[in-house]
C-alpha cells in the first residue's frame, strides 16, 4: 500500500523527464563530482554547494519539463525585455570587477543579467519566428538579428567577449534552424573573415593578447601564456590513461588556474587521461544526439528552434571550453557545461534541459 503510493509518486516525478538525457547527465554529474573533489583539494565545501545548486537546478528543470512548450514560449518576450533592461542598468550602475562591468547589485545578492540572455534571446527569437510562422520573409530575419545584436552589443561593452559569443551563437542557431539562407551564412562567413583586421583593430589589448597567446603561448610564458601553458602541460602529462584520480601534480601543486571552474577540464584530463577525455566527449555527443532527436521530432517551429538552439549551445559550450583549455581556441570565460563549478551557469543549463525535455515529451 505504502509502496503503491511511493510508486505513484515516483511515476509522477519521472513522468516529465527524458530518461536518456537523465542517464547521460547523471553520468556526467558523477564525473564532475570526482573531478571537483580532486580540484578542490579534497574539500567537501564545494561538493556540498554543488549538490545544493544541482538540486535547485533539477527542481527548476522538472517544473519547466512538465510545462507545455507553448506556455513556456510566452515567457520569452517579457524575459528578453527584463534582460535587456537589466543590461542597460548594468551599463549605468553595474559593479566593476577586474575591469569589466557585468554584475548588478540587488542589495542581498548580485546577478549577472547576461546570463538571463543565454536563454531569453533564443526564446525571444523563436517566439518571434513562431508568430510569423506562416509567412517568414527576409525582413523577419533582419528583425531577429536586431533582437540579437541589442543584448550582444551591450554585453560586448561590459566587456565580456565569452558570454557575448555564447549568446550570439545561441541566437544564430535559432536563425540557422529557421532557415537562414545558405547564401547569407556563407556570405556572412566571408564578410567576417574579411573584416578580421577591423575586428582586430577594435579589440581590447587583453583580447589581442589572448589571440597572440593562442598562436604562441611561449611568447609570454609567465604572463598571458602562463595559464594555457600550464593547462596544456596538465593535459599532455595526463597521457593516454591519466595520472589517476587525486594524483594530478599540476592540479595539486596549484599550477592550474581556475581549476574548479573554467579550467576544470585540465584537472579531469590530467587525472583521467585520453580515456577520460573520450568518455567525456562521448557523453556530450550522446546528449547532443538525444537533443537533436528531440529537435527532429518537435511538432512546432518554436519547439524545433528552441530544441535545436539549446542542443547546439550545449555543444558550443563544451567545444569552446575544451578547445580553450587544450590550447586551440583563445581563452574566453566559458565554463565546461554540467562540470564546471558555478551555480548560475548550472541553473541556466538545466533550464535549457528542462525546455528540451518538455519539447521532447509534450510535443506542443
Amino acid at each position: 500500500m505504502k509502496s503503491q503510493i511511493l510508486r505513484r509518486l515516483w511515476a509522477k516525478l519521472i513522468e516529465p523527464l527524458d530518461g536518456w538525457l537523465m542517464l547521460f547527465l547523471g553520468l556526467i554529474f558523477l564525473l564532475s563530482l570526482l573531478v571537483l573533489y580532486s580540484a578542490s583539494n579534497q574539500s567537501f565545501d564545494k561538493i556540498d554547494n554543488k549538490l545544493a545548486y544541482t538540486v535547485l537546478s533539477l527542481t527548476i528543470m522538472w517544473v519547466i519539463a512538465r510545462t507545455r512548450p507553448q506556455v513556456v514560449m510566452h515567457f520569452g518576450p517579457p524575459l528578453y525585455l527584463i534582460g535587456l533592461l537589466l543590461l542597460v542598468a548594468v551599463h549605468f550602475k553595474g559593479i566593476t570587477v577586474n575591469g569589466s562591468t557585468r554584475w548588478l547589485s540587488l542589495g542581498f545578492t548580485r546577478i549577472q543579467p547576461s546570463e538571463i540572455m543565454k536563454i531569453a534571446l533564443p526564446m525571444m527569437i523563436a517566439w518571434y519566428f513562431q508568430k510569423h510562422e506562416a509567412n517568414l520573409r527576409w525582413w523577419h530575419f533582419i528583425v531577429a538579428v536586431v533582437l540579437m545584436l541589442l543584448p550582444v552589443g551591450l554585453i560586448l561593452k561590459q566587456p565580456d567577449l565569452g558570454t557575448a559569443t555564447l549568446i550570439m551563437a545561441a541566437g544564430f542557431f535559432v536563425l540557422f534552424f529557421a532557415g537562414l539562407s545558405w547564401r547569407v551564412i556563407v556570405g556572412g562567413l566571408i564578410a567576417f573573415s574579411a573584416s578580421l583586421p577591423v575586428i582586430w583593430h577594435v579589440m581590447h589589448d587583453y583580447q589581442k593578447k589572448r589571440i597572440l597567446t593562442l598562436i604562441d603561448p611561449m611568447s609570454d610564458p609567465l604572463g598571458a601564456g602562463y595559464h594555457i601553458i600550464q593547462s596544456m602541460i596538465a593535459i599532455g602529462s595526463g597521457g593516454p590513461i591519466g595520472k589517476g584520480w587525486l594524483n594530478g601534480t599540476q592540479t595539486h601543486l596549484d599550477y592550474i588556474p581556475e581549476r574548479t571552474t573554467d579550467f576544470i577540464f585540465a584537472v579531469f584530463s590530467e587525472e583521467f587521461g585520453m580515456i577520460g577525455n573520450l568518455i567525456l566527449v562521448g557523453l556530450y555527443l550522446l546528449i547532443i544526439s538525444r537533443g537533436l532527436m528531440i529537435t527532429a521530432r518537435a511538432q512546432t517551429l518554436y519547439g524545433r528552434l528552441m530544441a535545436g538552439s539549446i542542443t547546439l549551445s550545449f555543444f558550443f559550450y563544451a567545444f569552446v571550453n575544451m578547445g580553450m583549455v587544450s590550447g586551440i581556441l583563445p581563452v574566453v570565460g566559458v565554463p565546461l557545461p554540467f562540470v564546471s563549478y558555478g551555480g548560475t551557469a548550472t541553473v541556466t543549463l538545466f533550464i535549457g534541459t528542462g525546455m528540451l525535455m518538455s519539447i521532447g515529451k509534450l510535443r506542443k
Binding site: 534552424f177 602541460i233 593535459i235 597521457g239 601543486l253 599550477y255 547546439l312
Partner: protein, 658 residues
C-alpha cells in the same frame, strides 16, 4: 484553392526537408569539431606525452643546492687561519624588481646603506646578469635583519638570507699566503663551465681568488649537496623528496707557524720587504710574509673602486706579494752559491789563498769595481771571502769563471726558476746566462744580445742581471743548509678529509739531490757560519747565540753609484736606498730552519735584515720572544692546540701514498 493548398503542402514538405538537412549538417559539423578536438588530445596526450611529462616534472621538482661549508685553514699547530661564520645579507634580484632605485630608497629607511655599499652594488650590477641575486648590504645586525624580515612583503625581489662568510682572523698577517675568496666573476664562471664544474658550484657565490684559497679551491670548496623538493606554482617547497647532503670542504693544515709569522711581522714593523722561512728537512714553509699586507676582508664582498685605487696607487704596494713576485738582485747573499760554482769548476781549491784588495780593475779597462771595505781584506781563502764578503775577491772569481760556468751550478739551487710552491703567480726571476741575454734583448738586435765580458763581473757579487724572489733565496738557502736536497716548498703540509678524518700529507720527497761533494757544502756552510762570528759581516748579530747559526748578508743596490762617487744613504730618497738582505739557517749541524729576509731600502744587510732573522731563530729554536715586541703579540701566548697524533692511520697513509 486545391492548388493553393497543394503548393503550401509542397512548401511544407520542402521546408521539412530543409530542416532535416540542416539537422544533418549541424550534426556533421559537431562531429567534425569533436574529431578535431580528439585530434588535439592525441597530439597532447600521446604524441607529446613525454615532452609534457618532462615539463610537469620540471614544474614539480626543483633541485635546491645545499652549500658545503668551505674548508678550514689551520696553521701547523692547529690555530685557525681561515674559517666561516654565518651572517645575514640583504640581497636584491634586479629582474624581479621594477624600480631598483626606488626600492633601495625605501630600504634605506630600514637599514643604513652606506655610499660604499651603493658603489659596490652598482659595480655588481654592471658585471652581473639581471636574474642574478646581488648583495646590497652584508653582515646585517640581528636587529636590522629582524626589521627587514618584518617588512619583506613590501619588497618583491628583495631577500634577507643567512649566508656563510669567510673570516681571516689574522687579516694582514696572512693575506699574502692565504689569499682570499671573492664573488665569482663572469670569467671564472666561464672557466667553471669549461672545467665542467658548474653543477658543483650551483648556489656557490664565492671562489678562491688568489693564494692558498685559489690553489686549493677544489679541496676547500667541497661537494655541493642537493635537496629535491616538490614545489607548488608559487615556488614554495611543499615537501622534500630526497636529500643528498653536501660534503664540506677539506681542512688544510699548513706548515706555517702563525706565531713565527707574527713575530716576523712585528720585527718588520712598518718597513717594507719580505721574509720566507723554510724547514730544510721537508720544504715546509714556516713563515711567509710580504710587507705591507692588506686586509683580505676588503675583497671578499667586492672592493669598491675607491679603496681599490687607493691600494693600487700606494707606493708601498701592499697588494704586491713580494715574497712570491718581488724580484730583487740578491747582492752578496749570492756569494755562497757562486762559491759552489767556483769550487765545482776547479779554478779555486778550498785552501787557495787569493788577494782581496780594495779595488778590482777589469783587465783591459779603466773601470774600477770597488770593495765595500776601502782597504780590502788582505789575503783570504774562499771561505774567508764569504765570511768577510769581499767584493773584489768575487769580482775576480766571476771574471775567472765566466758566465758559462756560473749559471749551470747556481741554477741547481733553484735560482732563476720557479720553486713550484703551492701559490699562484710565482715569478721565476733571472739567472743570467748567454742564452738568457740573447733571448731577453732579442728585439734590440745582435749587439745588445751579445754577452760582454764585463757583464759577468757584477754577477759575482749578486748584482748585474741577477734577480730572484725572496722565496727562491729562502729555498736555495734551505738547499744549501741540508747539503743539497732541493725540495718543492709548500705551505700546505697536510689535507684532512672532513668525512673520514684521514690526514694526507703532501708529497715531501726532494725534487733532486744536488750533485756536489759534501766537503764543498761543509766548506761553504762554515764560511756562512763565520758571518755570525766575530770578524764576520754580521758578527754583532751572532753575539750571545745559544745554538749555531750560519748566514750571509747582502746589500742590493737600487741605483747605480757613479764612478768615484760615494754611496750616501742619507742623501738618497728612501725608495732609492739599498735593499737589506739576509739569508740564514740554524742550527748549522742539523738545520731546522732556513730563512731569507729582505728589507726594502733597509740599507746594508747586517743592519736591517739580519737582526730579524736572528730574533726569529731565537724564538723558533729556543722559544725566546724578543722583548721589544713581546707586548704586541697576539699569538705567541696562544695555547698550542695539537692536532690528534697521526697514529697508525697516518702510517698506513704513508704506505698508500708514498
Amino acid at each position: 484553392m486545391a492548388r493553393e493548398k497543394l503548393t503550401s503542402l509542397k512548401n511544407l514538405r520542402s521546408e521539412e526537408n530543409q530542416f532535416q538537412l540542416r539537422l544533418v549538417v549541424a550534426y556533421g559539423f559537431m562531429l567534425t569539431m569533436f574529431v578535431l578536438l580528439i585530434g588535439r588530445f592525441i597530439w597532447l596526450q600521446v604524441v607529446q606525452y613525454q615532452h609534457f611529462t618532462t615539463l610537469a616534472q620540471n614544474n614539480r621538482i626543483s633541485l635546491v643546492p645545499i652549500l658545503p661549508n668551505r674548508g678550514l685553514i689551520l696553521d701547523r699547530n692547529g690555530v685557525v687561519l681561515a674559517q666561516n661564520y654565518s651572517s645575514y645579507t640583504l640581497e636584491l634580484t634586479p629582474s624581479k624588481i621594477d624600480d631598483i632605485d626606488a626600492t633601495i630608497e625605501q630600504l634605506k629607511t630600514l637599514v643604513d646603506v652606506t655610499p660604499r655599499d651603493m658603489k659596490r652594488f652598482r659595480k655588481f650590477q654592471e658585471d652581473a646578469k639581471d636574474f642574478e641575486t646581488l648583495p646590497l648590504k652584508v653582515k646585517l645586525t640581528d636587529e636590522e635583519a629582524a626589521r627587514l624580515a618584518a617588512n619583506m612583503w613590501r619588497f618583491p625581489g628583495v631577500e634577507v638570507k643567512a649566508r656563510l662568510f669567510r673570516d681571516y682572523p689574522f687579516k694582514e698577517l696572512t693575506s699574502h699566503a692565504l689569499g682570499y675568496i671573492g664573488r665569482i666573476n663572469p670569467k671564472e664562471k666561464q672557466q667553471l663551465e669549461d672545467d665542467d664544474k658548474t653543477t658543483n658550484y650551483r648556489g656557490t657565490t664565492y671562489i678562491g681568488k688568489t693564494g692558498i684559497e685559489a690553489v686549493y679551491e677544489d679541496q676547500l670548496h667541497g661537494q655541493v649537496g642537493f635537496e629535491e623538493v616538490e614545489t607548488d606554482s608559487g615556488g614554495r617547497a611543499i615537501r622534500s623528496l630526497k636529500r643528498t647532503p653536501p660534503v664540506n670542504g677539506n681542512t688544510l693544515k699548513l706548515a706555517l707557524d702563525i706565531r713565527l709569522q707574527e713575530i716576523a711581522d712585528k720585527l718588520f714593523g712598518d718597513r717594507r720587504g719580505a721574509l720566507v722561512a723554510i724547514d730544510p728537512n721537508d720544504g715546509g714553509v714556516l713563515a711567509f710574509l710580504s710587507k705591507p699586507g692588506f686586509d683580505p676582508a676588503l675583497f671578499i664582498d667586492g672592493i669598491d673602486s675607491q679603496t681599490w685605487t687607493a691600494l693600487n696607487s700606494d707606493w708601498h704596494k701592499p697588494l704586491v706579494n713580494r715574497a712570491l713576485r718581488g724580484i730583487y738582485p740578491p747582492g752578496s747573499t749570492f756569494k755562497p752559491f757562486i762559491s759552489m760554482a767556483a769550487l765545482m769548476s776547479g779554478i779555486i781549491k778550498m785552501d787557495d789563498i787569493r788577494p782581496a784588495p780594495g779595488v778590482f780593475v777589469l783587465p783591459g779597462s779603466a773601470h774600477q769595481f770597488r770593495d765595500a771595505e776601502k782597504k780590502g781584506h788582505g789575503m783570504v781563502n774562499l771561505q774567508k771571502a764569504i765570511t768577510v764578503s769581499s767584493d773584489t775577491f768575487f769580482y775576480k772569481l766571476a771574471w775567472d769563471l765566466g758566465i758559462d760556468r756560473i749559471a749551470p751550478v747556481v741554477g741547481q739551487f733553484g735560482l732563476g726558476s720557479k720553486t713550484g710552491i703551492d701559490l699562484d703567480g710565482e715569478l721565476s726571476g733571472v739567472l743570467p746566462s748567454k742564452e738568457w741575454k740573447a733571448r731577453r734583448f732579442a728585439r734590440l738586435g745582435p749587439a745588445a744580445q751579445k754577452w760582454l765580458p764585463g757583464d759577468v763581473v757584477s754577477i759575482g757579487i749578486g748584482q748585474g742581471y741577477n734577480s730572484y724572489t725572496p722565496l727562491q733565496m729562502a729555498n736555495a738557502t734551505a738547499t744549501m743548509a741540508n747539503d743539497g736536497r732541493l725540495f718543492r716548498p709548500h705551505l700546505v703540509e697536510s689535507i684532512v678529509d672532513v668525512k673520514t678524518g684521514r690526514e694526507t700529507r703532501v708529497n715531501t720527497t726532494p725534487i733532486r739531490q744536488l750533485p756536489f761533494p759534501q766537503t764543498y757544502f761543509d766548506y761553504i756552510k762554515q764560511g756562512m757560519a763565520g758571518v755570525l762570528k766575530p770578524g764576520g759581516t754580521a758578527g754583532a748579530i751572532g753575539a750571545g747565540l745559544t745554538y749555531t747559526m750560519a748566514g750571509k748578508t747582502g746589500t742590493a743596490q737600487v741605483v747605480a753609484i757613479k764612478q768615484g762617487a760615494k754611496y750616501n744613504a742619507a742623501s738618497l730618497a728612501e725608495q732609492n736606498r739599498d735593499h737589506s738582505w739576509f739569508i740564514a739557517f740554524a742550527p748549522v749541524e742539523h738545520p731546522k730552519i732556513a730563512v731569507a729576509v729582505i728589507v726594502e731600502n733597509g740599507g746594508w744587510g747586517a743592519g736591517a735584515a739580519a737582526p730579524i732573522a736572528r730574533a726569529l731563530f731565537d724564538f723558533y729554536l729556543t722559544g725566546k720572544v724578543p722583548p721589544a715586541i713581546a707586548d704586541d703579540l697576539k699569538t705567541a701566548t696562544l695555547p698550542i692546540v695539537q692536532a690528534p697524533p697521526p697514529a697508525k692511520k697516518a702510517a698506513s697513509d704513508e704506505v698508500a701514498n708514498p
